[in-house]
Symmetry: C2
Subunit: 336 residues, 2 copies
């Protein structure tokens, strides 16, 4: 039984096992510092398909198959799949998982979707609705640029605040049992709107939501940054990470020693031309492969994993609406 903690958090006394984690990603990601942690590296961002959208669905499919396989399970052992992506109407997820025949809850939390999946997946396990749940999220640079910004062929110049959408997918199998490492708590994000309108500065739109969920978490659990070995945000990039530090310091909170941003880890921001860092649902979902391995090895004992999302669409931006942020926080611990 889950225990509500404070206003926006939940504690799982027994812990939800993270039985396996997988990732599939493209060329740029393979060449980046985390390339060695990615299960399936594809040197063709079209993945042998005719369109980027179909390629993304293939990344989804492969990440899910790999996660289920690594957990030594078959699809008949999986009770639910939770998935989402950035394509309109979450198309990459739907086409990627359609052949698995699994009860499916489609999610949308922008680039925080993998965190939303881990949160709801944990609750499904904890409540007794199932023994094994797959959580998955994906993104694709070319599909996202075309859909959210400009046609790739336009060769539009990208401002320094822009981030590079990660091409790939990440998946995890959550299971009952409380084996290590396990999810021991979640803090669910609220929509935070600080009036950002620049679709090329998502970091700024998401930083306030990251600050909100982190402060809520510390308050709900009576912890601070020193309680954790690492605090990973999803895809704030250099601009958003700087803003997060500022927003937290205004509240007397300093996480700089523990904080890392998946968007700053997945690419070599000096050598790879990604401007402010990586982004997209797959940014945190693929980086999670590295985090999980370090948890398994004992390099971390207790971490916060906080995928960050920007809520908007091109029509809403054209109509003058703000870009808002939401983040979902997952607390993960090793248990001996």
């Amino acid at each position: 039984m889950a225990l509500k903690v404070g206003l926006t958090s939940v504690k799982f006394e027994k812990g939800i096992s993270i039985k396996s984690v997988s990732s599939a990603a493209g060329t740029m990601e393979g060449e980046g510092p985390l390339g060695g942690y990615i299960d399936i590296l594809v040197n063709d961002n079209l993945y042998g398909k005719k369109t980027w959208e179909k390629a993304e669905a293939e990344f989804v499919k492969k990440a899910v198959e790999t996660a289920v396989g690594k957990a030594c399970l078959g699809f008949g052992d999986i009770d639910y799949i939770l998935a989402g992506d950035l394509q309109n109407q979450s198309a990459a997820s739907c086409y990627g998982i359609k052949d698995f025949g699994l009860p499916f809850f489609g999610l949308y939390g922008a680039c925080s979707t993998f965190g939303e999946g881990l949160a709801l997946g944990s609750i499904l396990i904890d409540s007794g609705c199932g023994k094994n749940v797959v959580c998955e999220a994906s993104s694709h640079f070319s599909a996202a640029e075309k859909q959210f910004r400009f046609p790739n062929e336009l060769g539009n110049q990208r401002p320094r605040t822009s981030t590079w959408t990660v091409t790939g997918a990440g998946a995890a199998v959550l299971s009952e049992g409380g084996d290590t490492p396990c999810i021991t708590g979640i803090t669910t994000g609220r929509i935070v709107d600080l009036g950002i309108t620049d679709a090329n500065n998502m970091g700024a739109a998401m930083a306030p939501a990251a600050a909100d969920v982190i402060l809520s978490h510390f308050k709900d659990f009576g912890t601070d940054a020193n309680s954790y070995d690492r605090i990973f945000t999803g895809d704030l990039g250099s601009v958003g990470s700087g803003l997060l530090t500022e927003l937290l310091s205004e509240k007397g909170c300093d996480i700089t020693r523990q904080h890392r941003d998946c968007g700053m880890l997945i690419y070599d921001t000096e050598k790879q031309d990604v401007h402010a860092g990586g982004s997209g649902c797959a940014c945190s979902a693929v980086t999670f492969s590295m985090i999980y391995k370090k948890l398994l090895k004992g390099e971390y004992n207790k971490i916060l994993f906080i995928p960050t999302g920007a809520l908007m669409n091109p029509t809403s931006v054209a109509q003058g609406e703000n870009i808002m942020g939401i983040c979902h926080l997952i607390m993960i611990e090793r248990r001996s």
Copy 2:
């Protein structure tokens, strides 16, 4: 504690109370047979806003405020909000609920989203994650036509198989306690792909998924159509409803006496020019106001509520992908 039943169902021994239900809708819906059940009727589908997209967000806001008010609760009493819609990146939900400051899980199940919300909302309550959860879904005819099909100004002729997207929003507050009427079980839908490619025949794309979830439910719970007073599908319309009957009869199953489709109830299909019926997330979500009132009055004792969804986007259709279906089944009972 939830009890898993069969392959794809869950039973809530204690029952999840449906504390309140609300709806807000537009002109056509007000003029239809269910007009008297809708809380907020707006005789202006722009709802005083400059765009249809903003109008839809206003329907969302009003439906949620009304549901919370009818439950005699304040926003401080609400633990989570689950919402989704048909706009790209679920924009109507995000902008509609942003000011409420609630922990938010964004969902996407196409027109089955309200069912997905009721399912996950029930699990959140059952697991102890919260005492009160708001579930909401919306759609808007003009926003949907523009986004999925043709610009409204084109005056494009609609084929007889097409349905009319409902303009409005529906919301419900779920609470712990097991008061009547309550949700006593769910059967979670799987993606079903029967090779439909016509974006003007969503009923045909969804009927196979409806048949799948109904047969799964009957098997999991050991029931048949006679166990229920009514079986409400979401928005199959006349074409999809006919197909559902055919598909079920192939399996020796007859639900015709109990079956009603929200898409055939919300408009007067003789007098209102909606072709095959109503559709959209709001179709089942708004019709739920009538269903709930009849449950309260004792006209029904046990029903199945099955919002139906078609998974696609215009890009996927243009790239030759099939339109797939998914449906989420909610079992609701009166308890004395």
